[in-house]
Amino acid sequence: MAMPDFPIETERLTLRNFHKSDLDAVMAYHALPEVQRYLDWKARDRVEVKAALDAMCAQHRLTRPGDALTLAVVRKADDMLIGQISLRWTDATAGQAELRFILSPAQRRQGYARESVRAMLDLGFNELGLHRIYARCSGRNQASAKLLKDIGMRLEAHFREHALFQGEWDEELHFAILDREWLRGSKVKELSHHMVA
């Protein structure tokens, strides 16, 4: 799949590829127990976070289904790395990808996650030509559920006690949006912006 040029600029953020030099910044949130459960890998100490960062550095393009594109979320104002966001290409013929994001707990509630999610949906639909993008979150993670719903994604599944996670029943929500729904939404916003201006 042809990749656009990175970084991607939004109003307050830069989404760029990860570098080896991001180790301290990634360590600052990866090693937190509350972040651990959302990671694909163990990242509890410097050695494990280094391995995780190496993996993320390699996730810079989608070549075949199963690949992930992972970008660092950097705040422009102080050039601080505050999180990560990714698209995993799950199905090539049906144009499906999974969106995931992690924001450092200290930087939440300021709309950064929303701003980066918007940019990734634009990227996925406009640049990569995906058909459907979905995101999963725990039923207990109300902040993420609200963000995904507010951005226009539809709650497609609510699985109750469908799996065990660290000895407890897991509850999982699936949100999704189709290309035509996202593109229509973007056009409406553009239009209303023009009319106000």
């Binding site: 049906a94 599944a157 699936h174």
Partner: protein, 189 residues
């Protein structure tokens, strides 16, 4: 875990039992049909492939390991004719999750046979195999199938839209589920 029920299992009008080689013609009678294949992964099947499928299923009547499947022929008690098939699949051992499925000959639709058989699958799964959650999936257009799930008190947990390509068109899928607590609560009433 080992779930090895005693067969046949009887419901009011049906007998559920492991497949035998003699079932090929009865299974072919509905599996060759376009209207049966419409919502299944397989297309209409040849007599030869039905023979293979039945052969595979002969030994599938116990659950021990994750992924194990129980496939049973559904036979009318009144006249020993196979009118469909049902399945119970162990999807996740530690979390005690299973999936059920059913296919019936269209000539016998609309008489509650699928509901009767699926209710027994839930009973087998929850009370026999000790499952915590049992789910079933179907194409959103297959109202005959999801109405069975609703009659059994299963909840629609998912409605996936255009999440995959199925036979050259966008697929829309429902997932229905029931928890053991809900099953026992219903059984008490």
């Amino acid at each position: 875990m080992v779930y090895a029920p005693h067969y046949p299992i009887e419901t009011e009008r049906l007998r559920l039992r492991p497949f035998t080689r003699g079932d090929v013609d009865a299974v072919f009678a509905y599996r060759q049909r376009e209207d049966v294949a419409q919502y299944l992964f397989d297309g209409p099947m040849s007599h030869e492939s039905v023979t293979e499928v039945v052969q595979q299923r002969i030994g599938q009547y116990e659950l021990t390991n994750e992924g194990d499947k129980v496939f049973l022929a559904a036979e009318l008690k009144a006249s020993p004719r196979v009118i469909g098939e049902v399945s119970l699949i162990l999807r996740d051992g530690p979390a005690r999750q299973a999936e059920i499925g059913y296919i019936f000959h269209p000539e016998f639709h609309g008489r509650g046979y699928a509901t009767e058989a699926a209710r027994m699958l839930l009973q087998m799964g929850f009370e026999g195999a000790g499952m915590h959650r049992i789910y079933a999936r179907c194409d959103a257009r297959n109202a005959g199938s999801w109405k069975v799930m609703e009659r059994l008190g299963m909840r629609r947990e998912a409605h996936f839209r255009e999440h995959a390509l199925f036979k050259g068109a966008w697929d829309e899928e429902f997932v229905y589920a029931l928890l053991e607590g809900e099953w026992h609560h219903r059984a008490e009433r």
